[in-house]
Amino acid sequence: MKARVHIMLKNGVLDPQGEAVRHALGTLGFEGVEGVRQGKVIELDLIETDRAAAEKRVGEMCEKLLANTVIETYHVEFI
């Protein structure tokens, strides 16, 4: 089973990298982009075959290491 973890900065946390990308898009002539937020995607190949057990385990991984919940939110999809 494969889990895909999406990690984004929480709303309200300044994202200087996203802002830099937004400026660069404007410079390239792509108008109308009001905001850019940059996150990350982490894919996990799991041995686990039970979906509920995998959800619980990946949730623990996110809380413990993959995301910093002070500033980031995460959601997990199974593919």
């Binding site: 200087p16 993959l66 002070v70 500033i71």
Partner: protein, 222 residues
């Protein structure tokens, strides 16, 4: 004073920190990140600057979950002293021993220069020998030093006099110009500037020397 300096793959201020501790009179042991226990009788743990684990995932995140960090957290929970400098500060926030986090500098540039650093609190073993509001010249060298915490945490830090240092001229966008903060028991200090690079007369500034001297004279028994 017995100090342990933790060495992670990618630490690059570990030896500087050990030299600064030794110059202040401490007995120093270097401890590898894969070790699971600290040597007996350690008073203070130093988490050095650098780029532990290449800053992969988030600065300090992987170091914070390394085997030795479980012992560092236990040491802190026993009331032991911890000094985290630069990457060490990032590791301390990732362990949860200090609140908030350090984001990318607001102007996205790595900053390496000597800056004005103001004493925010003299109520700690680290800062007791400085004068209130004193301004020091201390180098910074970081890409992710933009201290961020929610409004409640900031209010608590201010209300409890836990902001040990602020920047005179905020170089990185830190909330409240915060450069260093103390734990609730005032025995854990995390700071982005590098006092260990400013303790010798041959350095550009020796203003960091007093931090180590202050520790020597002011640390209470663990």
């Amino acid at each position: 004073m017995r100090a342990a300096v933790i060495v992670f793959p990618g630490s690059n201020c570990d030896r500087d920190l050990a030299v600064a501790f030794k110059a202040a009179g401490a007995e120093v042991t270097m401890v590898w990140h894969k070790d699971t226990t600290l040597p007996d009788g350690i008073d203070i743990v130093g988490l050095p600057g650098g780029f532990s684990f290449g800053d992969y995932l988030r600065c300090g995140a992987i170091a914070a979950n390394s085997p030795i960090c479980r012992s560092v957290i236990a040491h802190a929970e026993r009331g032991g002293y911890v000094l985290g400098i630069c990457n060490g500060f990032q590791i301390l926030t990732e362990t949860g021993l200090l609140p908030g986090t350090l984001l990318r500098n607001v102007q996205l540039k790595f900053i390496s220069k000597t800056i004005g650093l103001q004493i925010g609190s003299t109520d700690s073993a680290f800062t007791a020998d400085y004068c209130a509001d004193q301004i020091l010249q201390i180098p910074v060298a970081h890409h992710d030093g933009n201290y961020t915490a929610d409004a409640q945490v900031m209010a608590r830090l201010l209300g409890d006099d836990r902001i040990a240092f602020t920047y005179v001229d905020n170089p990185n966008g830190s909330d409240g110009s915060v450069a260093g903060i103390l734990s609730q028991n005032r025995r854990i200090l995390g700071m982005m500037p590098h006092p260990e690079r400013a303790f010798d007369p041959q350095h550009h500034s020796a203003d960091g020397q007093r931090l180590f001297a202050s520790l020597m004279s002011q640390m209470a028994p663990v």
